[in-house]
């Protein structure tokens, strides 16, 4: 049964699409995690759903609607360059409203409900050759963008003040990051669906960061974990007729748990935080003499 399936063209297409998406998601995840932008990714994907729902109602290809929705939110978030709590609450407010519109649009849509389900939970086995081609083109764009901006992105993610003082254009990079995130999210939605985008964009990178302190190695590890999760998930779903997204989410989460355990049990050589006494902040002030 499995060997028969593995000989099918649509299964090959699914594996290839999964690989393409996994590589981009694993790569961008490192920057998402470094910027603390997980919630933004979630918002971008949910509003991609709203865009897709709008496209369905309008009778357009939902992938185009999804891309537009994600990109719009990505550009807005990038331009705002919000930080901390303000960003959190602003994203929450926009996300909720966007989903509300998505629900309305979906209720207006008279077509097949499976379209909507596929958007929410993914439909990797339904990927066509032309979709695979489009996925690959977008993936190449995202990876080229990441490669070109790797160092300034890293700099502005970990140390924005100094990066700015060295002439790194923070706002332009913020927009670039969110545009790349939006493109990646739109890719991931087609494999794991709106609700599970984080399983490919966040989980592998979060696991990788637990395992290494080196940015380049973290990037490769994150890609590897995303690849194993996606391909493993597709393989398992051929064997057992459960949703592919479930398997992908399970494998990537397992990798995350393992990474945490490895991190927690590794010998503490040069790793344990050696906190100096907080009281050494200032020399004592002998004003009372």
């Amino acid at each position: 049964m499995l060997t028969q399936l593995l000989a099918q063209h649509f299964v090959h297409t699914a594996f290839l699409a999964g690989a393409v998406v996994a590589v981009v998601c694993g790569a961008i995840g490192i920057f998402v995690v470094a910027r603390g932008a997980s919630f933004a990714v979630h918002a971008i994907s949910e509003l991609g759903f709203t865009g897709a729902a709008a496209a369905l109602v309008a009778g357009v290809d939902p992938v185009i609607g999804m891309m537009s929705g994600s990109l719009l939110v990505g550009v807005v978030l990038g331009l705002l360059s919000l930080r901390g709590r303000e960003r959190d609450s602003a994203i929450g407010a926009v996300l909720a409203f966007g989903l509300g519109i998505g629900v309305l649009l979906l209720s207006l849509y008279q077509g097949y409900a499976t379209e909507a389900t596929n958007l929410l939970f993914g439909s990797i086995v339904g990927v066509s050759d032309s979709q695979l081609r489009n996925l690959t083109i977008v993936a190449v764009i995202v990876l080229a963008g990441l490669a070109a901006a790797f160092r300034p992105l890293l700099f502005s993610s970990v140390d924005p003040e100094v990066a700015e003082s060295r002439g790194v254009p923070l706002r332009a990079l913020s927009v670039l990051t969110f545009v790349l995130i939006a493109l990646t999210t739109a890719e991931a939605i087609q494999v794991v669906g709106v609700l599970l985008v984080l399983t490919l964009v966040i989980t592998p990178a979060a696991a990788a960061q637990r395992l290494t302190g080196r940015p380049g190695v973290a990037l490769l590890l994150s890609i590897a974990i995303a690849l194993v999760s996606t391909e493993g998930g597709i393989l398992l779903s051929l064997e057992k007729p459960w949703p592919t997204s479930f398997f992908i989410a399970t494998i990537s989460f397992a990798a995350y748990l393992i990474a945490r355990v490895v991190d927690a049990t590794r010998p503490a050589v040069a790793r344990a935080p050696r906190r100096e006494p907080a009281e050494a902040i200032e020399t004592p002030t002998p004003v009372e003499l």
Partner: protein, 269 residues
């Protein structure tokens, strides 16, 4: 051709109605060590940001080697401390490397010379032993030494340091101070050093720029840190005491928003 490296001319900074300072003028020569003192909210960090070319002053101009900042000369910047997240995927040496090529686009590998330079500054700040540890796992003091290394690695024309001794214990305060001191002596790099507490750096300071709300004064520590000068800056009676080689200022208006613990609101400069 004068020997000044940094020049500040008629610099005025206002935020809305509030004037932080007006017509500030000073120059820094090669190797000069300037301490910038004053309570919070008097624009110490803003002055650094203007020199870095990030913040535009209300009026006046600044120049580094006769050119606008950020145009030509590398500036070394040690910002106020922000502790790195525990999860930051970056080794200490990667962090220092950002000072070499973090602003450049594209992908490249370091030359042997650049790698040696990075190893060299890591050794200079006493960070060789944890050069391969992840930033997020290091203590505040260790992270701070790496910030100094990152600023030095670009061979800056000027060093701008914002409270670089915060969270360092006394021995590392001394090490960092000596490091900056030897840098300016050997390479003639002028240093602007923002601090709340002048005492740890008193032996190496050439001049002091004192910022009080709406006013400023510049001169040697002996000229500026006197009861007369500070009383006139604050328009209230302020006493400057010298206790066992340390300078203590008593009676400045309480600086609001300061998180520093000072008995009875007095401030040690």
């Amino acid at each position: 051709m004068t020997s000044e490296i940094v020049s500040v001319k008629d610099l005025t900074l206002r935020f809305g109605e509030r004037t932080l300072w007006q017509n500030m003028n000073f120059e820094l020569g090669a190797g000069e060590f300037l301490a910038v003192l004053g309570p919070n909210g008097t624009g110490k960090t803003s002055l650094l940001r203007i020199l870095l070319g990030i913040l535009a002053p209300t009026s006046g101009r600044v120049a580094v080697r006769g050119r606008p900042p950020r145009c030509c000369a590398a500036l070394g910047y040690i910002p106020q401390q922000r502790i790195f997240d525990r999860d930051t995927s970056l080794r200490a040496r990667d962090f220092v490397r950002l000072g070499v090529d973090g602003h450049r686009w594209g992908v490249s590998v370091l030359s042997r010379k650049q790698r040696e330079r990075i190893d060299g500054v890591l050794a200079e700040v006493g960070a060789s032993s944890f050069a391969d540890a992840a930033m997020g796992r290091l203590s505040g003091g260790e992270q701070q030494r790496l910030r100094v290394a990152q600023a030095l690695v670009s061979d800056p024309a000027v060093l701008l340091a914002d409270e670089p001794l915060l969270s360092l214990d006394l021995s590392y305060q001394r090490i960092i101070t000596e490091l900056l001191d030897s840098r300016r002596r050997r390479f003639g790099t002028p240093i602007l050093f923002v601090t709340h507490d002048i005492n740890p750096i008193l032996p190496v300071v050439d001049r002091v720029l004192y910022l009080a709300p709406g006013r400023w004064a510049i001169g040697t520590a002996d000229e500026v840190l006197t009861s007369e000068v500070l009383s006139s800056l604050y328009e209230t009676e302020v006493d400057v005491l010298r206790v066992r080689g340390r300078i203590v200022v008593v009676g400045t208006p309480e600086d609001h928003g300061s998180h520093h613990v000072h008995a009875h609101g007095d401030m040690s400069v």
